[in-house]
Symmetry: C2
Subunit: 237 residues, 2 copies
DNA sequence: ATTATCTATAGATCTATAGATAATGC
DNA sequence: ATTATCTATAGATCTATAGATAATGC
């Protein structure tokens, strides 16, 4: 979204009837940003292309130069909200030593909480909305969502203790863990700021759901912190 | 909804173009039932009056004989989803001896879970949907929702232990407890059946949120079960 | 007479396309 | 020439009202 987008400056094209601020982001990003806010706060179906255009400060028809209508915008927003989580889960599964699944799960939860906490306008809410789930573009993302849940399930299954394994199936487990992590979405929409403490509490909850004993949770918290540093370094490199 | 509504039989009025089943509920209830399902599963804004009418088996215009359009239907559904909880919280606050707030809170959670579990089509979801929250009729229900949260806050505050009181304000507490209880909505929409065990787990969670010690939770569970029986008896009388 | 439906339709959106226009950049 | 906007508008909904009609019930 507000990545270092080709900023305001003067650019080709007919000027807007309401002049754009010199500080404005690239038009595409302006639209995505406004649409994200409206979709989340008013609902997808309840937001018209006119609403979006008005708030951006352009004419309704001008949207279609940048996007294939509301569905096109939604598709991009959904992508923005799943992709980062998916990339991280792949890295964690690939690079974490298999002998410490607790720490891997803890780390994943920690990172995912952070992603959901920083994604613009709490767009993690989108795939909970029924009008979004019924939209055509959603179908494309369902596999990605399933893959995310499946990854949580795999990591969780490696942690799970006897009594838990007896009660909760592997399929269910992924869902439970994702749910636990998505509490951040709720907390955010309550207006609360997400802190490191939130992340740790949620990550710990994930381990408890798998039936991990408390000592193991404490250990994983430390290990995950180490791993987190390594991850951050690799990012910069 | 499907209360023992004046059933099918023959009734005055021009016949429907698609004849109604002899077993059908009263027309008002047929409409409420269909609308509840569509609002919850497709979204409020995404459902048109035509969609509702079609599924009921009447013409779009005929809806207006029974309701003041979509907002009118929504108003009634919101009422149906808050009213029962509100009535119960009043009774519990009025009749529970003030010296056992733990049991009272436990009982409230237990009863509320049951209400949310049995309300038709999981309509507890409605007031989480942004298009519903922005509708005009929602404003009327916001006070009722606040009252419900406030009641949870009062009961919770009577339970709360020192360390929790230091961290979480009374205002927040109500919200936290309501959130905890509303997990049933999520569980239901995951397709899972709600059991007594769910209710007990959630009620216990509420006490833990208040910082109640485990012995007190176990005791409250027993006491609440007694109270529950008394409540059920009074209902029948 | 009353009730519950119907048919028909006006008026208000809302989406999406066609074609014009005003900038920049070469 | 390319880009990003504009204006204008057709066609598709969608809501809500007016007035007709086909039952039952007295």
């Amino acid at each position: 979204m507000s990545t270092y987008a080709t900023a305001g400056a003067t650019r080709p094209g007919r000027p807007r009837v309401i002049p754009r601020a010199a500080s404005a982001a690239a038009p595409r990003d302006e639209i995505l940003n406004v649409a994200a806010e409206l979709f989340v706060n008013r609902g997808f179906a309840a937001t018209s292309t006119r609403d979006i255009a008005e708030k951006v400060g352009i004419r309704q028809a001008s949207l279609y130069y940048h996007f294939a209508g509301k569905p096109g915008i939604l598709a991009e927003l959904l992508e923005l909200s799943v992709r980062p989580s998916l990339e991280k889960v792949e890295r964690i599964e690939g690079e974490c030593p298999g002998d410490i699944p607790e720490a891997a799960l803890y780390l994943l939860a920690l990172i995912d909480v952070e992603t959901l906490a920083t994604v613009p306008h709490n767009i993690g809410k989108l795939y909970r909305m029924p009008d979004v789930r019924n939209s055509e573009v959603f179908e494309e993302f369902e596999p990605e969502l399933r893959e995310l849940t499946a990854a949580y399930g795999r990591l969780g299954a490696a942690v799970v203790s006897g009594p838990v394994a007896a009660t909760v199936g592997v399929d269910q487990l992924g869902g439970l863990l994702v749910q636990a992590v998505e509490v951040v979405i709720r907390i955010r929409s309550g207006g609360e700021e997400i802190t490191r403490a939130h992340g740790q509490a949620i990550a710990a909850t994930c381990l408890r759901i798998c039936g991990a004993p408390e000592e193991s949770i404490a250990r994983s918290a430390v290990t995950a912190d180490d791993l987190l540093l390594r991850f951050a370094e690799q990012r910069q490199a």
